[in-house]
Symmetry: C2
């Protein structure tokens, strides 16, 4: 069967995602793109701990959030970094990836923040976030043994830091 996006049934249109069924077969989630920010302090990764409803559990992630309409990538990163961590810095794009392209179009841009400095942001109402600092090895080991629930961008960031000798 060949995918034909003209043969699309929209099942749900929502706040952060839409669900379509193409050809009565492909279940497709439309989702805004996101940014995730890699920052370090004293050789450790800056991580955010927060409750995530889909897991009914707390995760460890690097700071991240959705790009709003009209924002460019680095603007979104600066806003999210300020909202979640009250921090700013010199921001640059590291790379970009699709979180799970078999069912979802979400694209994440991995951003590096250097020369950190205080910045003012207003936290989202629906987020309660605390900061933690772990070495890349601690994060990867916790994710492997199941003691930590870790996001995809945080794992990429951890391996990147290992590649820089951290």
């Amino acid at each position: 069967m060949k995918h034909n996006p003209q043969n699309r049934q929209t099942i749900y249109t929502g706040r952060v995602l839409n669900l379509h069924l193409d050809n009565d077969y492909w279940e497709i989630i439309e989702h805004k793109p996101a940014v995730a920010i890699l920052a370090t302090q004293d050789q450790k990764m800056l991580l955010v701990r927060q409750y995530r409803a889909p897991l009914q559990a707390y995760t460890l992630e690097i700071p991240a959030g959705l790009i709003e309409p009209g924002e460019d990538i680095l603007e979104a990163a600066a806003r999210e970094f300020a909202e979640e961590c009250m921090l700013g810095g010199d921001l640059s794009l590291l790379t970009s990836f699709y979180v799970s392209p078999g069912f979802c179009d979400e694209l994440v841009h991995l951003i590096r923040a250097e020369n950190l400095r205080p910045a003012y942001g207003i936290p989202d109402d629906d987020e309660e976030i605390s900061l933690e600092f772990l070495s890349p090895k601690e994060l990867l080991e916790g994710a492997k043994n199941g003691s930590l629930k870790v996001s995809a961008p945080a794992i990429s960031a951890a391996y990147l830091l290992l590649s820089e000798g951290l």
Copy 2:
């Protein structure tokens, strides 16, 4: 507002995902866990190129697939690696991560395959896959400049290989 999974409305129950709305607010995708396999040949990453309906485009990913009910992680990895690449190997768990825990519970286990050897698998009907080989740097650069559409596990795998000096 506090998340209460008892206050759940199921919007859609499907083939690879279910959609719930909790507290009339949180849009939650339930999705099976997956495996993704890192293998190298001649200093290059083994990648699969395939059409992905959500992007209406071809992606470059490391071999990956869903864990079927009753399968353990390494069994699923062996099956997917055989189905997609007609290859087997010595398999071990590297780490695990949630692809996008803000809306989805999908967990991906990143698996290393070493000492590659031929293996017989029956490709999925709905997948047309070709193999490609790129260095980690080529993959990361293509993902950054937008010339390649790359999956999250492939990006983690690329940084991991850089950390090993590849």
